[in-house]
Symmetry: C2
């Protein structure tokens, strides 16, 4: 038979079983963490009508999009979860209760140039709160709590949630007479981490025509040193000069003020006036999250407040606040950095029952049935092989417990329960084995994905 | 601004939040149930190279496939999870441990003609066990246990797992001298439920040229009455006339013989000699699952044993056995039949904290933090509205408990915990509230998706 060489497309993540188990834990942690904050899960189609998906049009995105025809339909694969959310809220507006809090974890598609660590198919995990007409600042204040809880549940300890407010930047730009160039100035500042302060200043003066004095004041402003309270005190010095600035400072103060009530430790939080987030649609609080020991990775969870989620679909004012985790990329990076826990159980099962021969098969199956009823993930090794190969399977598959059943054990109603790591072995009834295994694995079952 | 009318493509399921919660429970139950039997989760790309996906080529599938070009690449969306599994096992053969047991729940795409209850994007939930060269019959015997456990965990009680063995049919066809027409005869029998016995007989004689006598014997064979034991006894009467038949009967006897050890009640199982499963690649045990009260729905979980998973990619013999649940279609049908439980919690949260004014906000947030730490899915209603609107939100969103916090409560460190169904209200500390809500919701949290 003529054969096709099997391959997986470049830029598409396909994990081996042990790594996939880690990814599943990642997803499960995200689902639980988001649900705990009262976000409801959504699932929207991967394929949408191209005119719907590209309503906003233009930009870098359009070139990367997977777009094709099927019959008479012009179709496209979603490239983020925000546009589908906008469509969903506009389409189902009358059937939703606002503020509408949803999370969505799903694959999105961007035909980027293939390179190491860049994916064309990748999971995003988003949460958003959408208001009907208005949305209180407290929704923005709650976001750091969701981020903190999520990363803590993943096992991460050393991370920082960086927060800024676009109104503070816009108000400050206005003070400097730079309002007309606010967008360009914002995008330039956003590159600070990448290109450095000198280059930012040069771009501001040489390319954007910002006067030297204003550029100097701007650079001093974003370089403001100290902790959160120092920065709030520094910002307070500008009060009364611009209404937008004052509103932004009030909002930022609210966000900071409620950190304690939301259970977010101060050491996992900082005000960072350099965060602008390039996207034009953010209008209030903006968020980034960085791993303290790996700043080179950049932000692993970002987002912000916006005023119009769905302006391309509806005249309803739908302000919102949301954050997104690039799950596939983050998983890739955590793997690269060897930050994923080795203690996490990644075997296909927690126990494998090994009958010595066909005579013991019925009792082996009954034993597996008891273990499963007790919640132990269990396989039976059914193949007719030599014992060495049977036990070798348990070893290769990394299954922590093997229950060996020969004629003697079957007659006595017990199994020889072997701890595959220590090699210790003990005769137990099926119920006793379930109890022992459940107790022995309790800690490993609770292992967090990321090493703290 | 020019606006695009938001819409979702026909044939693409997009659920409202309460229904999506039910779907999430469906998925979660499948994941847990499959994992309990030692199947490891896999995730493969939605997009594959067209030559890989269509290695088998031809057939109805090719017309339905979503195929398109991106740059120089000829791409296609997966139309099932079996072909990607074949690719995966062939590609990663050296890195897998056999028998390889995997489950996969994912979206697949078929551009079928749009009609009610037919989907172009739908979830399949598959399990397969793949052997390296050989695979013991016990793997086939275990499949009914997985089906039984899965549907029971979903809450279903009245269902039947129907089992047949292709070797029995093929052996019997050989006895009748119909071996050369076995494929056509098999496909005709497979239509029995749809077209009835008379039409099947007519097709056999008029179209396939089966002699009247053979057709009569065949019709009597598949119409064999009685329970599982009657049928095994009936089949035993044909022993010794054909080796393939005898092998099939041995296998079927093994599957039946271990039902008890696997914990499958006899009333949820039956041997059904009419089940052929149209697909050519099944070679041994075949499975269907029907809802006792809704036979018109057809099989909701089907599959079988095959000899060569990946013959288009590798010369390795990779026999396997697997089953598939068409999740999206089954969910749709269960909804239509009003079989989904009304008791399942589908609200975005289990509790909503309602501060009466900004003065009580900090204590309201602290209360929510305590509830979340105790595992209660909690929202805070942050919007500055009248009390009637605040409590109206809890009502509309279907959130079972509201914790109302005014100045008096905040000062005393308590919340007025209102049961939104009974209307009863009681003052409790945040920890006390968490305890009460957890206890009150224990039964609803454990509610199964399907009404028993």
């Amino acid at each position: 038979m003529a054969r096709i060489k099997p391959h997986t497309l470049s830029g598409f993540m396909e994990l081996l079983p042990a790594d996939q188990q880690k990814m599943e834990r990642f997803m499960e942690t995200l689902r639980q963490s988001y649900a705990l904050y009262g976000f409801t899960p959504l699932d929207t189609p991967v394929i949408e009508a191209a005119d719907v998906l590209l309503a906003k049009g233009g930009g870098e995105t359009e070139k990367q999009i997977y777009r094709f025809e099927k019959g008479d339909s012009d179709l496209a694969l979603r490239f983020d979860l925000t546009v589908p959310l906008a469509k969903y809220v506009a389409l189902h507006y009358g059937e939703l209760t606002f503020p509408f809090r949803r999370f969505q974890i799903g694959k999105v598609y961007r035909g980027e140039r293939a390179q190491r660590g860049r994916f064309r198919e990748f999971y995003q995990a988003d949460i958003d709160v959408i208001g009907d007409g208005k949305l209180d600042i407290m929704n923005e204040a709650e976001i750091p709590a969701v981020i903190y809880r999520t990363f803590t549940a993943l096992g991460l300890e050393r991370f920082r949630i960086r927060v800024n407010n676009r109104k503070i930047l816009n108000g400050f730009f206005a003070m400097l007479g730079l309002s007309e160039r606010a967008g360009d100035v914002m995008r330039t500042i956003d590159k600070l981490d990448k290109i450095g302060a000198d280059k930012v200043r040069e771009t501001l003066t040489a390319e954007l025509g910002v006067p030297d004095g204003a550029a100097a004041e701007l650079m001093a402003f974003i370089a403001c040193p100290g902790g959160t309270d120092d920065k709030l005190a520094f910002l307070a010095g500008y009060r009364g000069r611009n209404e937008v600035f004052d509103a932004g400072l009030d909002e930022l103060s609210t966000v900071v003020g409620y950190l304690g009530a939301f259970g977010v430790p101060r050491e996992n939080f900082e005000v960072d006036l350099t965060i602008a987030r390039g996207l034009d649609y953010y209008t209030g609080t903006v968020y980034e999250t960085v791993l303290t020991d790996h700043p080179e990775i950049g932000s692993v969870c970002s987002g912000g407040r916006y005023d119009n989620l769905a302006e391309y679909y509806t005249d309803k004012a739908l302000p919102g606040v949301g954050i997104s985790i690039g799950v596939t990329r983050l998983f890739y990076v955590l793997q690269e950095q060897k930050m994923l826990s080795e203690a996490l159980l990644t075997a296909p099962a927690e126990a494998v029952v090994i009958p010595m021969d066909g005579e013991c098969m019925a009792f082996a199956v009954e034993t597996a049935t008891v273990l499963r009823a007790a919640g132990v993930r269990t396989q039976v090794y059914f193949e007719n092989k030599k014992f060495k190969q049977k036990i070798g399977y348990a070893d290769r598959a990394g299954i922590p417990f093997a229950l060996i059943i020969g004629g003697d054990e079957a007659a006595r109603g017990v199994a020889a329960v072997k701890d595959m790591v220590s090699g210790e072995q003990e005769s137990l009834t099926p119920a006793g084995a379930a109890e022992k295994i459940t107790a022995a694995l309790a800690a490993r079952r609770a292992t967090r994905l990321i090493r703290g």
